[in-house]
């Protein structure tokens, strides 16, 4: 029996999927692992539910399906995702290109059965694969903690600093280690963060000013003063001219 989790903001759409699952039960036996009515609810309820397949509407309030899938991919027991959409040409094209499975609403029983069989055989979609299919930047960064996904709103992030295998994510009140590459983060959130050093991205909005560093060390001529975080971060010589321009632009 495949344990299926259903995520859709419209009640009739969830009912319809349950009906169809019953209809195809002889061919593909399934059980309901849980339901959610918006993106954030999926991230709260799915971890630990034992869901193997997630039927995920892509247009949901709170957080869209594609971003939900990207956060879920962090889970060690991430479910296989089958996206469901009424009409979204761009998303469908992205799914095709990145070999992600999807169903079109209204869903046909035969298509659903085929998707479930395929999902049971295959594994969860990879993070890279999902990132390529996503059209925009995420609104949250996430950390997986056993049966839980911790979300950090991107607008709360003060800086991101690469240290060996991980990136340290710093908000005013918290610090997390995330498994992402600084280069990819810089590309995804271009405009929101600015590079001040080979290993560090800083939120533009959080920059309060610059002050002279103690000198001596080659790269530590200037330090960034940040809103809400006491730590001063060194600016590399290479990034300084671009930063100075940015400072001039700021009102």
């Amino acid at each position: 029996m495949i344990r299926v989790f259903i995520a859709d903001d419209e009640a009739p759409a969830r009912e319809r999927l349950k009906e169809l699952l019953e209809d195809v039960a002889a061919e593909v036996p399934t059980g309901i692992a849980g339901e959610a009515t918006n993106g954030l609810e999926v991230l709260e309820r799915l971890p630990g539910s034992g869901a193997q397949v997630l039927l995920l509407d892509i247009q949901m309030p709170g957080m869209g399906g594609l971003e939900v899938a990207r956060h879920l991919a962090l889970l060690p027991e991430a479910p296989t995702v089958v996206f469901v959409t009424a009409h979204d040409r761009h998303a469908v094209e992205a799914f095709e290109l990145n070999a992600l499975d999807y169903l079109l609403k209204p869903v046909r029983a035969a298509r659903l059965a085929a998707a479930l069989k395929k999902a049971a055989a295959g594994g969860a979609p990879g993070r890279e694969q999902l990132a390529r299919a996503a059209s925009g930047a995420r609104e949250y960064l996430s950390v997986a903690e056993r049966h839980r996904i911790v979300l950090v709103p991107v607008r709360d992030v003060v800086f991101l600093r690469a240290e060996q295998k991980y990136v340290t994510l710093r908000t005013r009140t918290q610090e997390h280690l995330i498994e992402e590459s600084l280069v990819a983060l810089e590309r995804e959130f271009a405009g929101r963060f600015v590079r001040i050093h080979r290993n560090c991205l800083v939120s533009r909005a959080a920059i309060r000013g610059f002050e002279r560093g103690g000198g001596g060390e080659d790269e530590a001529h200037w330090l960034v003063v940040l809103e809400g975080v006491a730590e001063r971060l060194p600016v590399s010589r290479r990034q300084w001219p671009a930063l100075r321009e940015l400072l001039a632009e700021k009102p």
């Binding site: 419209e10 759409a13 319809r16």
Partner: protein, 336 residues
């Protein structure tokens, strides 16, 4: 879809329309200003001449506009050529009368009578020609094309989700499924209808209610609509699909993207000679990136201008976390 090319019908402008009156005022004064400029040696002198000329021209102009305002219903019924002749005759008669009466009021010497007559006639003919060009640019064929652009804009997302919702109803509540399909048919009949000039407000309200029923089915308790229609004049005429796209926007931008339930207000009322419609929805900050709002709004604004010229107003504003669209059109009743 082909665009029906309706032949442009020559009708004199409606001299009771504010837009037409404004254009006449501007055109005649522009002509006077040009005249002053031609005859003057310096800008200061031109201004002086223009002021002097305006003092002479303005009373005649206003007199003429009043006469045309009164004659407007008659002028609408007769042929363009006859109307043209009547307008010229009215202008000439008034100019002669004005020329004759003026010496009784002012002592200053007046321009020659023949010059006044010829100039008044030439300017009147030129202004009529100008108005005819404007009317041509604002012709029904254009209004039709704009309407069709709006009709073609049905959101596929809405259609497929509605069909999906009906499928979910068929086994559990077949009667409601039937009603929903009927509503969907009515909505699409309107969206695919041959373009019409005007519909009755009662019909547009029925369309709103059908549409709201479909959205209600999909969104359930998340959508709460308050209707304030007691003072709505059901016989008022308005261009088709003016209100429904606005309600659709309200749901699409103000309710669907939110996790909490959202309240939409639809209020339509008559105030004297005006019909006011207001549609309000929650203003969702994060929603501003989603496209599609402007297109319907621009389209409706354009069509209201085509139908009512300067007498219709549409504006939007955000206050207290609510997004509000207000439309104001002149009240014109359908013939019973």
């Amino acid at each position: 879809m082909s665009i029906r090319q309706k032949a442009f019908s020559d009708v004199l402008p409606d001299f009771r329309n504010l837009g037409v009156i404004a254009r006449v005022l501007v055109a005649v004064n522009a002509a006077a200003a040009m005249g002053a400029l031609f005859a003057a040696a310096s800008p200061a002198q031109a201004l002086e001449r223009f002021v002097a000329m305006a003092a002479y021209v303005e009373p005649l102009l206003l007199l003429t506009l009043v006469a045309l305002f009164l004659l407007s219903p008659l002028l609408q019924r007769i042929s363009y050529a006859a109307g043209f002749a009547i307008v010229l005759a009215v202008v000439a008669a008034l100019a002669a009368l004005y020329q004759g009466l003026l010496p009784l009021v002012v002592a200053e010497p007046l321009p020659d009578a023949w010059r006044t007559l010829v100039l008044a006639g030439v300017i009147a003919a030129a202004v009529l020609g100008l108005l005819r060009l404007v009317a041509k640019a604002y012709s029904p064929a254009l209004a039709e094309a704009r309407l069709q652009a709006l009709q073609a804009r049905i959101r596929p997302h809405f259609l497929f989700n509605s069909l999906n919702a009906v499928l979910a109803l068929i086994r559990r509540d077949p009667r409601r499924a039937e009603r929903t399909l009927e509503d969907l048919s009515d909505l699409f009949r309107t969206l695919m209808a041959e373009p019409r000039q005007f519909v009755r407000l009662a019909d547009e309200i029925a369309l709103l209610e059908r549409y709201a029923g479909l959205e209600q089915l999909r969104l359930g308790e998340r959508l709460r609509i308050t209707w304030e229609l007691d003072a709505a004049p059901s016989d008022a005429l308005l261009p088709p699909l003016v209100l429904q796209p606005l309600l659709e926007n309200a749901v699409f931008h103000g309710v669907e993207p939110g996790t909490a339930s959202g309240e939409v207000l639809v209020r339509i009322e008559r105030r004297g000679k005006r019909v006011l419609a207001r549609i309000e929805n929650p203003y969702l900050e994060a929603e501003q990136s989603r496209a599609g709002n402007r297109m319907a709004l621009d389209n409706i604004r354009e069509r209201l201008a085509l139908f009512f010229d300067a007498e219709a107003r549409i504006h939007t504003h955000v206050a207290d976390g609510r997004y509000r669209v207000e439309i104001e059109i002149p009240y014109r009743a359908a013939r019973a």
